[in-house]
């Protein structure tokens, strides 16, 4: 019995002129197109676009902040020493008193005494997350040109649900995590390419009603960023 898999692959090969019965007349002498040959063909693809950035570090951080603000995200810049006080200020301004944290976050981040930090342990259900006011996480990388944050959902970034269900997300970004271009970020993320990955560019939004970007649908309706620079 031929399976659909076999049938589809055979049809594709016939369409491409590489089916066994077509090989001779199409001048294909090898038994099959080898992976080497495909790799060689892949190598000929033109890639004349911009790969690396051109901005100095200061301008890169400026651009990142500006692009985040374009999406309606507030950016708070501070030094490493000011991290816990900045977190406290940002949360106070949002009237948030209890916030979820991924299990890998500890120490100086949590120094603010008037905030209750609730560790998201494995037993936390989605319904429980839904009742929380917000979540505080780190990230893996960021893209200045597009105002994008890259998560690989490590112990300091939390599971995918954790940065999705609560209505508020506060993300801490370090200056050395901010890359300028999309290609730089994709190459940086390559070692993590088989982990679950999420990119976040501003709060959740929609353009479905009259093509106007409206902030806030199902993901967090507010995204704040603390950008650390020493």
């Amino acid at each position: 019995m031929t399976t659909s898999r076999t049938e589809i692959l055979e049809k594709i090969r016939r369409s491409l002129g590489v089916a066994p019965e077509q090989r001779e007349q199409n001048g294909l002498t090898e038994d099959r197109i080898t992976e080497d040959r495909i790799a060689k063909d892949y190598g000929t693809i033109a890639r004349e676009y911009q790969h690396s950035g051109k901005l100095d570090p200061q301008s890169r951080l400026e651009l990142f902040s500006e692009r985040l603000r374009d999406y309606g995200t507030s950016v708070h810049r501070c030094s490493n020493q000011q991290l816990s006080s900045t977190i406290a200020q940002v949360l106070a301004a949002r009237h948030i008193h209890r916030i979820l944290i991924p299990p890998g976050i500890s120490g100086p981040w949590l120094a603010a005494s008037d905030i209750e930090f609730v560790p998201a342990n494995n037993g936390l259900t989605y319904a429980e997350m839904d009742k929380m006011e917000g979540v505080l996480t780190a990230c893996t990388a960021a893209i200045a040109l597009t105002g994008t944050i890259f998560l690989r959902h490590s112990a300091t970034e939390g599971t995918r649900a954790l940065t999705l269900i609560p209505d508020y997300h506060l993300c801490v970004v370090f200056e050395n995590q901010v890359l300028e271009t999309v290609p730089e970020a994709i190459r940086y993320m390559e070692p993590f390419s088989t982990l679950p990955l999420t990119t976040i560019s501003g709060p959740s939004a929609t353009s479905d009603i009259e093509m106007t970007r409206i902030k806030g649908v199902h993901g967090p309706r507010t995204l704040d960023v603390v950008l650390i620079q020493d």
Binding site: I8, K11, Y42, Q50, Y126, L145, G147, T194, S207, I214
Partner: protein, 476 residues
């Protein structure tokens, strides 16, 4: 085998359907407004990229390369996805894909599914197939929700409810969500959708989506979205099913660096859309416990056979060609009778159906070339349209009036004596039709052509006559 593209096989011809749509003034206002907004945004963010043309060329080459070796890349994807805990199914056509998906849902004894926007599921008519099995699909993309609640058809690839304005949407939500009050601002409408769907995200155990990209190297799937409904559907349920057209494959993870720059800027005019999710098989303690990929052919492998029209399969479904098309902007999406509308719909719909249906669509274009200019993967849509018109004519399926016109033209143009006679005839016959040097209404079967066009009247003297007279005057 039954290839299906929504209800396209039963749809009326484009000219007939377009005439009906053109009478809907509200729909035309909505479409014009929405496409104006999106065009302006797209042009602004494309113009700020100095390497835009280089990105387009790379994207074209990556897609063309992948299609040339599609069999190998599909096998590579299957191997990597399976190794990561995913289960890969192959579906020749719509019915087989629907049956596979229904069987997965039934094996869990579930009666409800939440869906991410996937045009491919509209292509195979998945929702009616699930409903026939007693399974209720909930659309979670705002525009798809509007279409589903309104018992409507998608009219745009990216923004399926583009033909509806906020007043119409408010009325629909009030009625279908059984709300007592609802504001009329877009923010109020999205808030209503958030409340309506949140409970479903937290409760329903099976999610279904498509794929913007399927990566052969890693076996990963990438979903590009804005609202977070995609993240909800692919993260919270216990089972997730991706329905993937076989042309969605890209070779390597790093190829995303090209497509993630082109797609958001072309589709919604944003530097980056709010969310992209990339995942590989299943992950312990994060997301679904079971992940299925259904690789769908449904006519695609046949499109590969023609080297001139194969480029149709490069499409990344950004809909930039719809937003710039002078025909689409007048008629809206429904006139195309296919869930794939606009210029890309006009080439992909008939080809998926082996040119057996939707033969009027390759004619639904003025060949102005704006679609080619806007296309982020450089599909030469006018070239493909002309090629397909040739196929329609060769199959004897050309519109009757065109056949008569072409035969007449061929007769008159094949001898200079016949041409002179024809010209003389036109000069005499045109007099009742000419007003101020313009003909705006032709008689008989030519009337349909002149309904939307004016032409200059034939001059008193033809070029050949002028040339002859001039030579005579010089010699005398």
């Amino acid at each position: 085998m039954t290839v299906r593209v929504g209800n396209a096989a039963q749809a009326p011809d484009f000219p007939e359907a377009a005439k009906k749509q053109l009478a809907n003034a509200q729909m035309r206002r909505n479409v014009r407004h929405a496409t104006d907004v999106i065009r302006a945004k797209r042009n602004r963010v494309a113009a700020e990229m100095p390497d835009w043309e280089a990105l387009r060329e790379s994207a074209r080459q990556i897609k063309a390369h992948t299609l040339r070796h599609l069999d190998t890349y599909l096998e590579q994807f299957e191997k990597a996805c399976t190794a990561a805990g995913g289960r890969v199914h192959w579906a020749k056509d719509a019915d087989e894909a629907n049956a596979i998906i229904a069987a997965i849902i039934n094996s869990h004894g579930e009666k409800e599914v939440i869906k991410i926007k996937t045009m491919t599921s509209d292509e195979i008519r998945l929702n009616p197939a699930l409903e026939a099995e007693g399974i209720t699909p909930f659309e979670t993309d705002l525009a798809d929700l509007i279409v589903q609640l309104g018992n409507d058809q998608p009219s745009h690839i990216v923004v399926p409810a583009l033909h509806r304005n906020k007043t119409e949407i408010r009325k629909l939500f009030l009625e279908k969500m059984k709300l007592e009050t609802l504001g009329d601002q877009p923010e109020d409408l999205t808030e209503a959708a958030r409340r309506y769907l949140r409970e479903k995200f937290l409760r329903v155990k099976i999610g279904i989506g498509g794929a913007n990209f399927a990566i052969a190297e890693t076996g990963s799937v990438c979903i590009v979205e804005s609202e977070g409904n995609g993240r909800m559907c692919l993260t919270l349920p216990q089972v997730f099913i991706s329905l993937v057209g076989i042309e969605k494959i890209i070779p390597e993870f790093s190829d995303l660096e090209v497509f993630l720059q082109l797609l958001p800027r072309s589709a919604t005019g944003e530097r980056m859309n709010p969310y992209n999710s990339i995942w590989t098989g299943i992950s312990p303690n994060d997301g679904p416990k079971e992940f299925h990929v259904v690789l769908l052919d449904n006519g695609r492998s046949e499109i590969l056979a023609d080297e001139k029209t194969r480029q149709t399969l490069q499409c990344i479904r950004c809909a930039a060609c719809l937003n710039v098309c002078p025909v689409y902007r007048q008629t809206g999406g429904h006139a195309y009778g296919s869930i794939y509308s606009g210029p890309i719909g006009a080439i992909v719909t008939p080809q998926l159906q082996s040119m057996q249906h939707s033969q009027s669509l390759p004619y639904a274009s003025s060949l102005c070339g704006a679609c080619y200019e806007a296309c982020p993967v450089k599909i030469n849509i006018p070239e493909v349209l002309i090629e397909l018109r040739g196929k329609v004519v060769a199959a004897g399926d050309a519109p009757a009036s065109e056949k008569i016109a072409m035969k007449t033209a061929s007769f008159a143009l094949s001898s200079s004596r016949r041409l002179a006679t024809a010209q003389k005839f036109v000069r005499i016959a045109q007099w009742p039709l000419v007003h101020d040097g313009t003909i705006s209404k032709l008689p008989g079967f030519l009337g349909a052509w002149s309904e939307t066009r004016n032409m200059r009247s034939a001059p008193a003297e033809s070029f050949r006559q002028w040339w002859k007279r001039r030579r005579k005057e010089q010699h005398s």
